[in-house]
């Protein structure tokens, strides 16, 4: 079965080809069916591979074809089918399938229906390449392709200037990160002479100095920061909400943005050789988590809240891999995929029911009118908030615990600091999640008149995926319960043989109190979540003026947060505008002026020379005779003088 893993890639590719070339002719129904079937079949093959893998110890490399052979340099187009990549492909294919089904309903009215599904399939194909690649070059191909799909899908409604701008912004910002990533890959090649994972990871401990390892890993992390929206390259993700909601759900919540986390987990061997990089990853992860959560507190657009929430949760994942808890990071990735996709799709359902309204201040009282959507959203929000026993609770708690007693971060105070930031962010997360719930579904209806007449629940084809995801969000955490963690056990062969992961309860503190400590911290996380929910209820249901008054009292802070710390403006002024001016200068002065001027000047020179020379042809024979005489005199003189 493992040898057939390439089928995982084949089905989406077929979907792209069919929908891309004859999509317009086979009618919307078939387009949807083909696209969903493609992803669905891919998922099924993934399940088969998963079960096959359970019986084996290590993964397998499935070689597809010999891609590049130049002298000594050889790259195979090959897939690494191991536990990590299989888990990732299941997440990708599974969540994608659900979202494809949802999109059939959501995009039903759109004219460019087949283009949408072609691009979605192409995205799934690219993401699967990224996840299944067995060498850095193929990884890079997948990396770039998902970036391309993201651009195309964000700007899907390209008639809207804001959408086109958002697509461009996404592409350009991630390009900055990708540049670092490419440099990292090149550095790997320069150091190791090969790009295959197996060879690189095997040779790394002997070949890499700490300095070189730090350089490589920081460059790779730059790419991750771009793709996975960490500080400072996160600015594209909120704008990416211009795209259709299924796109936001799939790409910017569940899959593409997790590519960075996957990459760090995959190359953990290199990262462990550079403790500084690990610290950087963890610190940036924690900082981003906190930073984004604060912004999410005051956003009024429901999708923006979710976007910043995604950035924040990605920060958690990077915190996890930064402290060496790779399995925890991947676990959180999985649960996040479930509940974030759920939240986005529910938000889309709300939008659909409210004829396109996105501002939460104009919602309210929907819980009776859109029952299924409400329940789905509630489930997602609860999971996000880390409500005890739900999926988000287990994964987030795992990360916090691991941050607290990681063996990678030597400084105890840093560990404590990371944990503290994590738990504060958890509080904020729960708060803003339920703020969204209460503003959207509870309380008096603030919906506009005309819109209010048309409120309706979404069709079954949209609500069924919601239900599926809700179930996963609620119980999905059970696979990761501490000490029983199936996830960790499953992934162990991938992460095991390095000094990184501390086996579950092996504390750096002396004494046996660690087991207790873990439960205490877990209880603390639970308490924090519940407290935040209660606070949100108070602020938005019981005492709805409170937020307004608070925002007036702390007006400057409110302004800072609601303007996203002015980061976009800072980038614009500090980076974008100077570059634009430079480009304008270069194009006007250098290119049009100097270079064109030189070339045109040369042509003009010859033109003028020709014009002047032509005046020699006067037409008068005597002039010609004079010229001849002059010539004779000169030649004769030369001959004589010689």
């Amino acid at each position: 079965m493992l040898d057939f893993a390439w089928l995982i890639l084949l089905f989406p590719l077929l979907g792209v080809l069919i929908n891309g070339f004859i999509g317009n002719r086979i009618g919307k129904k078939w387009v949807g069916r083909v696209a969903c079937a493609a992803v669905g079949l891919s998922f099924l093959v993934g399940v088969g591979v998963f079960f096959a893998l359970l019986g084996e110890e290590h993964g397998r490399t499935v070689s597809l074809f010999s891609w590049i052979t130049v002298g000594d340099f050889q790259i195979q187009a090959a897939l690494l089918v191991d536990q990590l990549s299989t888990l990732m492909s299941l997440v990708v294919a599974g969540v994608s399938f659900v979202i494809h089904v949802y999109s059939i309903g959501y995009m039903a009215e759109d004219e460019r229906y087949s283009r949408f599904f072609t691009l979605l399939n192409l995205f799934v194909f690219s993401m699967l390449i990224l996840v299944l690649a067995d060498n850095f070059l193929l990884l890079y191909v997948g990396w770039e392709l998902v970036g391309l799909c993201s651009y195309l899908l964000i700007g899907f409604w390209f008639e809207r200037p804001s959408a086109a701008e958002a697509g461009k912004k996404a592409f350009l910002v991630t390009r900055v990160g990708d540049f670092g990533f490419a440099l990292g890959v090149m550095l790997i090649f320069a150091t190791f002479g090969t790009l295959g994972y197996a060879e690189v990871f095997e040779q790394a401990p002997q070949v890499l100095t700490t300095g070189l390892a730090t350089a490589i890993t920081l460059l790779l992390f730059a790419g991750a920061a771009g793709k996975s929206a960490q500080i400072p390259l996160y600015v594209w993700l909120p704008d990416a909400m211009e795209g259709p909601t299924p796109v936001s759900a799939l790409i910017h919540a569940a899959t593409m943005v997790t590519a960075g986390v996957y990459m760090v987990a995959r190359t953990h061997v290199l990262f462990e050789l550079a403790p500084l990089s690990m610290t950087v990853v963890a610190v940036i992860g924690a900082a981003t988590a906190f930073f984004a959560a604060t912004i999410a507190l005051v956003q009024n657009d429901i999708k923006r809240v979710l976007a910043y929430s995604t950035i924040s949760q990605l920060g958690y994942m990077f915190l996890a891999v930064g402290v060496g808890a790779y399995a925890s990071g991947i676990f959180h990735l999985t649960t996040h995929a479930f509940f974030k996709a759920l939240l986005f799709l529910s938000a889309g359902s709300v939008m659909h029911g409210l004829s396109g309204e996105l501002d939460m201040r104009k919602m309210g009282g929907l819980k009776d009118k859109m029952k299924t959507t409400y329940r789905a959203f509630l489930a997602g929000a609860a999971a996000l908030a880390g409500f005890p026993l739900l999926s988000g609770f287990f994964s987030k708690d795992e990360i916090l615990w691991r941050a607290f007693n990681s063996s990678i971060i030597p400084s105890a105070s840093l560990r404590a600091g990371l944990w503290l930031v994590g738990i504060v962010t958890a509080f904020l997360t729960a708060f803003y999640a339920f703020r969204a719930v209460f503003l959207t579904f509870w309380g008096p209806s603030r919906v506009d008149e005309e819109v209010a007449h048309h409120i309706h629940e979404s069709p079954r084809i949209m609500t069924t995926p919601l239900t599926i995801l809700a179930v996963l969000a609620l119980i999905g955490g059970l696979i990761g319960i501490p000490h029983l963690s199936a996830v960790e056990g499953f992934l162990e062969p991938v992460f095991a043989h390095h000094q990184a992961v501390p086996p579950p309860p092996a504390p750096p503190q002396p004494g046996g109190g660690s087991g207790i400590l873990e439960w205490v911290l877990m209880a603390l996380s639970a308490a924090v979540a519940i407290l935040a929910i209660i606070l949100a209820q108070y602020m938005y249901l019981v005492n709805p003026d409170r937020p307004g008054r608070l925002s007036k009292r702390y007006a400057s802070i409110y302004k800072l947060l609601s303007n996203k710390y002015y980061v976009d403006e800072i980038y614009m002024a500090g980076i974008v505008n100077p570059l634009r001016n430079l480009a304008s200068f270069l194009s006007r002065v250098m290119d049009a002026g100097i270079i064109d001027g030189a070339v045109n000047g040369l042509a003009a020179f010859f033109g003028r020379a020709g014009e002047e020379t032509r005046k020699l042809q006067t037409g008068y024979v005597r002039n010609y005779g004079l010229a001849m005489l002059m010539g004779v005199v000169v030649v004769l003189g030369y001959l004589i003088l010689r």
Partner: protein, 100 residues
Amino acid sequence: MIPSSYYLALSAIIFVIGVVGVLVRRNAIVILMCIEMMMGAAGLAFVTFSRYLNSLDGQVAVFLVMAVAAAEVAVGLGIIVSVFRHKQTTDVDEINLLKW
């Protein structure tokens, strides 16, 4: 014997006068005459060398030059007549259609 350079100098003088005539006069026929004069001067140089180098080749050369000159004059005058028919003038400055 008179040094050959005397004859050659004379030939040079006549030649140069012919050159000036070609460049200064405007009547096409007179220009042609000056060209003939130049050819005559050249012939004088040939004959001088024939004499002073004791070789008859120079004289043969002049003989042939004369033949050529005759043919050339005939054709040249034919051209001038033909042009005159169209432009009614023999002034070379008026025949300037081949200018830029």
